[in-house]
């Protein structure tokens, strides 16, 4: 692994396939628990803590394992973090990939042109060739990992829940930094284990929770919900379902166009237009996973997710779905108050199930 050249990425819209096709290892960069203090001197303090924490990682010299970093125009914070990273961190290759915020033919065509440009930039910088064959192979491998992950998600529809939600979430999270080959092996093993679990007939299990929101990199919320006596059955986050759902067409004559269709046409995120579409997807997840309650969470200062929250809460409640909205600081450091709120929420869910 020491000769492996790594390209970091920060958003589910970054096309890992192109990086893999270049013979480089795509790996998600996350600030995790990095203190944001140093970042405040470089980027405004009222910015999303995911941006600040990840920037802090770079400023503290903890992203030197990366040979490159690809940003996408996810949001205002990411756009500006790109400027700061390029200026003050000094990673060898820093790239801003344009990802439209609209769907539709013009957007897909434009995005495909940007994907080609990105591939070309990687070729130039790293002296590699991205051939149609290598790109198609990368698409197949990435799809394979996605299919396996989707299989595990499918298993989680069972009542009672076969696998702890925190474990499944961590499995996906781990995969964001592994080679596709290694990740596939791990997923195949995990699938075997998962499929061997035989649900106890007649067991109604625990209250079933869907976590929805933007980015979570730590297990605290899962632990709080599980400790309160509920199960996390589905996870609609950038670092979970939104990353693994939907496949790229493997038989397209133009793999860049196929990638553009998958990323732009299929992924549902608050950065895109289509508020109602996102709500519908959430409602579908509620039905498919027999969800009793939704925990909608957003990191502080994320305008896109914070602004959606009241509308979603109102609409889901109209549908009879219990919702708990939690604004978080990304580090999930202060769990004391959260614990009380989560416990109260699970208690309500339990009482409604009786």
């Amino acid at each position: 692994m020491s000769n492996v050249r790594r390209i970091g990425w920060l958003c589910a819209f970054a096309p890992e396939e192109i990086v893999s096709a270049a013979g480089l290892l795509p790996m998600r960069l996350s600030g995790g628990g990095e203190s944001t203090a140093v970042a405040d001197a470089y980027i405004y303090s009222n910015l999303c803590p995911y941006v600040k924490s990840t920037l802090a990682l770079g400023l503290n010299g903890k992203a030197r394992h990366l040979d490159g970093l690809v940003f996408v125009r996810s949001c205002d914070g990411m756009r500006r973090m790109y400027d700061v990273w390029k200026t003050y961190v000094g990673t060898r290759f820093v790239y801003m990939l344009e990802v439209p915020k609209n769907k539709g033919e013009a957007a897909v065509e434009y995005f495909a042109s940007q994907l080609r440009k990105f591939a070309h930039a990687l070729e130039q910088e790293f002296g590699v060739d991205i051939t149609p064959a290598s790109l198609n192979e990368a698409i197949r491998m990435t799809n394979k990992a996605r299919r396996l992950m989707q299989r595990i998600y499918q298993i989680q529809r069972n009542v009672p829940l076969p696998l702890p939600g925190s474990e499944v979430f961590q499995l996906g999270l781990d995969g964001l930094g592994m080679t596709k080959g290694a990740f596939i092996l791990r997923l195949e093993e995990y699938c075997k284990k998962a499929e061997s679990q035989v649900p106890q007939r007649g067991d109604k299990g625990k209250a079933r929770v869907l976590i929805s929101g933007n980015v979570i990199d730590r297990p605290e919320l899962f632990r709080l919900i599980e400790a309160a006596g509920a199960d996390v059955v589905a996870v609609d986050l950038c670092t979970a379902r939104r990353h693994f759902d939907h496949l790229v067409d493997e038989n397209s004559g133009d793999p860049y166009l196929a990638l553009a269709h998958r990323y732009l046409g299929e992924l549902s995120c608050a950065r895109m237009t289509g508020l109602e579409e996102r709500l519908n997807e959430m409602e579908e997840l509620v039905k498919a996973y027999a969800v009793d309650g939704v925990v909608y969470t957003s990191v502080k200062f994320c305008d896109q997710h914070l602004a959606d929250a009241p509308y979603f809460v109102e609409k889901l409640k109209d549908e009879g779905v219990m919702v708990l909205f939690l604004e978080n600081d990304y580090t999930w450091g202060n769990t004391g108050q959260l614990k009380t709120r989560v416990e109260a929420f699970v208690e309500i869910l339990d009482s409604r199930r009786r």
């Binding site: 001197a41 470089y42 980027i43 405004y44 009222n46 910015l47 125009r73 949001c75 205002d76 914070g77 756009r79 500006r80 973090m81 790109y82 400027d83 700061v84 390029k86 200026t87 003050y88 801003m96 344009e98 439209p100 915020k101 609209n102 539709g104 013009a106 957007a107 065509e109 434009y110 042109s113 940007q114 608050a270 950065r271 237009t273 508020l275 109602e276 502080k300 200062f301 305008d303 896109q304 914070l306 602004a307 959606d308 929250a309 009241p310 509308y311 809460v313 109102e314 909205f325 604004e327």
Partner: protein
Amino acid sequence: MLKIFYEGMKKSAEEEFQRRPRAWLMYTIQLTSTLLKAFEDDAKVVWTTYYSFPMELLAAFDVVPFDFEIGCNLLPGVDPKGCVDIMTEAEARGYSLDLCSFHRLALGSYFLGYFPKADLLLTTSHFCDGKTKTNQILARYYGKEAMMLDVPNELSKESVTYVSKQLQGIAGKLEEISGHKLDLDRLQECIRASNRARAAYGRLAELWKTKPFAWDGSRLCNLSIIGNMFSGTPFQEQLYQKIIEECEQRIAEGKVAPEEFRVLWLAWFPAQRTNINEIFRQNKVSIVMSELARVYWDEVDEKHPFEGMALRCLKNPYVGPIEQRLAGVLQMVDEYAVDGVVHFSSAACRHANASFRMIMDALVARDVPFLVLDGDMSDQRNYSAEGTWSLLESFIEVMAVRK
């Protein structure tokens, strides 16, 4: 309530205009008249973003443009306390205090039924995440379509085509709303009006270089945002021409305020009532230019109106990498011979604030004093008059030492 407020503003501006036919009154009358049209039953009202959407396209369809940010953020200058009550309506429904006060005020205004109707809600992606999101939410509440002109962060043949195609799609939607087909001759006429206004604005921006500064700095900031609502109409050129005449007259008669320090203003000027103007007046400081007041765009090619309008969007200083914004800032620092630069950082204005360090480093390298002035556009709960006083006075001292 907003309608009554606009009527009052219009009436007092008209009465004052009878006594003193000044440009600012002319502007206020036109602004309030346009906003009031949005309340007329037969009006086709398109909600938009005055300062970033190519308004020429709306002018070509004769629809009434209404910007929910501007529409309700005329209030904080008059009744900041009342605005807190309006924002509270949104906050009580779960809209986070971390969201921009511009948007909380708009959402609160909606919940209280202050806004006019909307036939289409149209905005752009480059100003800012909060605006696009609020636009979508309001569209859902109204049960109307939300459209977003997505402006990429890079300027290329492909991005011009992409934006241009979207504008053509929007034109199709405007045909539906207005009930008539796009008249290309009319669009070209609007583009020509906009180009003439651009030329007049360029002359005005030249006049602002004169020492001492011959106009009003906070009005300059205001005009750089709201003035764009008239793009594509003959009024815009008339307005700029009238301001030019007034500035020239002031210069000729020596009726300009005493000036010791010249400041370039970055980002927005607060919509709420503040003590900034008073502090500057007492210390003989002029805001001589605002970064959004710069003529950053080229003449729009009337033969290729959609590509031309797309180019204008893509050349906006807030689009693209920081170098694009920074180049404009440094150019103004030189051209306007400023003594210092102030960046007003409204708490939730992330797309502007996040670049403060790079701007600061570039200015420090040129030995130009720079201040990040924290505050809030419209929420008086996040604005400290004492803190502002203390920061600005210290900054003025620094400028004095450097002089």
